[in-house]
């Protein structure tokens, strides 16, 4: 029977294909399982060198199997094996330490420089908001309660006495305020995440959040300035506030970048433009969280222990100068790249 001769030959050759390649697949699978769990350092040099060879062999097996075999289970196995190999070999190209180093030396300042227009718009909006808040509370002090939520006001309001306001600035009530600082840290981080994340709605919410933040600043400033404590409040705020307000401004800028890129994608498609802006903005946002952590530390430790106004101003100014130098003056060039 010619039929059975032909089919038997096909069956034989496919069986020997699998028998011959199976050892390679298994070896690739065990190596992959090991490198997915532990660092590539766990492999010997030979194993490391064999990884791409085994990967290509699995890919070629997949091509052969798709073209000649009708064994669905075999093809599914090879597809999943090749996909795992592809993600591993073409996925993580840098070690965690290199990534972290790159982030601090290049990515973070680079992202902030890339966002410079949005950052200074955002700083401008904070200033405008602060002026508006100051003016509103100055004209009618009922605005104060509307602008500042009672949970953040900490008992301060336009009717507080000068002594009470001063005691908040210089008081050593460490017990209450350090918990308060942590609360503020999470509050500020959430404000910044909001300013960033809501940016996709054409940047409008980000602008509003930044303006509102400025308003709160202006409102607080007004009640202190009205009692002649403006300079002292400036010191109290600036020790951590320069870092913190800068961070919130950057978060708003990141949100604005996403919103404006979605609204005006230029030559890219809207999706691609959004994805591109999203990555720069996300890098900036991690930086924002780090800045807020710094601000929280300064607030928790520095504010209640350093009482002198001059020291407060110089720490706050120093931090601001540090951030500006770091973002705009530090330019690392990696070898082989322009």
């Amino acid at each position: 029977m010619t039929l059975s001769v032909g089919t038997d030959a096909v069956r034989q050759s496919l069986a020997s294909f699998r028998k011959e390649r199976e050892a390679d697949w298994k070896a690739f699978e065990t190596l992959l399982a090991r490198v997915e769990k532990r660092a590539p350092r766990a492999l010997s040099e030979d194993e490391l060198l064999s990884l791409p060879l085994l990967y290509r062999s699995a890919l070629s097996s997949l091509s052969v199997a798709r073209a000649t075999s009708l064994d669905n289970a075999l093809i599914a196995y090879l597809e999943s094996l090749c996909l795992r190999g592809y993600f591993y070999l073409y996925g993580a190209r840098r070690t965690m330490r290199a990534r972290i180093g790159d982030f601090f030396l290049r990515d973070w300042p680079g992202a902030i420089r890339d966002l410079w227009r949005e950052v200074w718009t955002s700083v401008g909006l904070t200033v405008i908001g602060a002026i508006a808040g100051y003016w509103l509370v100055a004209t009618d002090k009922r605005w104060y309660d509307a602008i500042i939520p009672p949970s953040l006001a900490g008992g301060r309001n336009p009717d507080s006495s000068a002594e009470m306001l001063r005691s908040v600035l210089y008081g050593g009530d460490h017990h209450f305020l350090s918990g308060f600082a942590a609360l503020l840290f999470t509050h500020n981080t959430q404000v910044s995440i909001l300013a960033f994340a809501l940016g996709f709605a054409f940047a409008v919410p980000s602008v509003l959040i930044i303006l509102m933040n400025g308003c709160m600043l202006g409102a607080i400033f007004q009640i202190y300035a009205a009692k002649g404590l403006g300079f002292e409040l400036g010191g109290w705020l600036s020790i951590h506030g320069t870092t913190e307000l800068f961070a919130i401004a950057i978060a708003g800028a990141a949100g604005m970048r996403i919103g404006t890129r979605i609204a005006f994608p230029g030559e890219l498609t809207r999706m691609a433009a959004a994805a591109q802006a999203g990555r720069v903005a996300a890098t900036a946002m991690v930086g924002v969280t780090i800045m807020l952590l710094f601000a929280g530390l300064l607030e928790g430790i520095g504010r209640q222990t350093i009482i002198s106004d001059i020291a407060r101003y110089s720490i706050g100014g120093g931090m601001l100068a540090f951030w500006i130098c770091y973002f705009y003056l530090l330019r690392m060039v990696r070898h082989g790249e322009s």
């Binding site: 496919l14 997949l62 009708l70 289970a73 591993y88 999470t186 946002m285």
Partner: protein, 292 residues
């Protein structure tokens, strides 16, 4: 790309996307469906909540041990920890080598870059920060209002609608993207670990040799039916085997005792596959029984 043909959720082929490796092989990734992703996310939430509760208990007992005057630093650590747990958990795991949180790993899915290039850490950060407004923001506002005792109907409804709108967003686009995926340029694909199983056509059944098939009998079916038959044989369910045997026997005019179902199907599978593979080698991919 496939704009002409709207994707149907029920059709599994609608979730397959081309992924051509630099070696020129199309790996055809399958996007994870909404149900799988939801269960992965719920598993993650459970893990986070358990971790938070355990740490809180340790801290409470730590407080009792230390006495209350030292409570303040621990309280700060606790607030920051809970905040970081939520935000860092997803980022750290997805930036890792397997690009999946434990929950995702359990259901066999992972994050990948839509461009096919390696997933970068800023993409992971972007997609996870967006989760903050998609899920946690409305829920935390609701929780805060509820605990303060002024959760009125309007704000509750607003919060729930907001959360629903964002969590159902993946159902309304072709690639099953969350807002975060959209911004980060990522998608979530299936990456199951598949074990290599035996080749059914190499199975030695002592009774299979009894069955011989003519060319006409083997021409009755195509590749689609062959793969269904493979599924049935691997499932090895007696009633399914019997039903399939009856159908095939009727179609190809063979007489089979019910007791011989498995042997018959094994024999027919082996012969049919060899027959179709031979055709394949000669350049004829017979897709199903209607093809010639």
């Amino acid at each position: 790309m496939a704009k002409a043909k709207p994707a149907k959720a029920r059709d599994p082929a609608a979730l397959i996307r081309p992924l051509v490796t630099p070696e020129g092989v199309d790996l055809r990734v399958k996007l994870a469906d909404a149900g799988t992703r939801a269960s992965g996310f719920l598993l993650d939430v459970v893990i986070i909540v358990i971790a938070a509760v355990v740490v809180s208990l340790v801290i409470i007992f730590g407080l009792a041990g230390l006495g209350l005057q030292d409570a303040q630093p621990l309280f700060i650590v606790w607030i920051i920890f809970i905040f970081f747990l939520r935000n860092v958990y997803f980022i750290a795991f997805e930036a890792g080598r397997r690009a999946a949180t434990p929950g995702k790993r359990m259901v066999g899915i992972r994050v990948a870059s839509r461009s096919g290039a390696g997933l970068t850490i800023d993409q992971v950060i972007a997609r996870n920060l967006m989760r903050e407004i998609e899920v946690f923001l409305p829920l935390s506002i609701l929780a805060a209002r509820g605990s303060a005792g002024f959760a009125d109907t309007l704000s509750t409804v607003f919060g729930l609608v907001w959360a629903l709108l964002f969590s159902l967003f993946p159902l309304f686009n072709r690639d099953r993207l969350r807002i975060g995926d959209l911004l980060a340029g990522t998608w979530v694909v299936e990456a199951p670990k598949v074990a290599l199983v035996e080749d059914l056509s190499q199975r030695k059944d002592p009774f299979a040799a009894r069955f011989q098939f003519s060319a006409a009998q083997l021409d009755a079916y195509g590749i689609a039916e062959l793969q269904k038959l493979e599924e049935v044989l691997r499932r090895d369910d007696y009633h399914a085997l019997k039903a399939v045997t009856e159908t095939i026997a009727r179609k190809i005019n063979a007489r089979v005792e019910p007791i011989d179902s498995k042997a018959f199907l094994t024999a027919y599978y082996g012969e049919l596959r060899a027959h179709l593979e031979r055709k394949l080698l000669l350049g004829n991919r017979k897709a199903d029984k209607y093809a010639r």
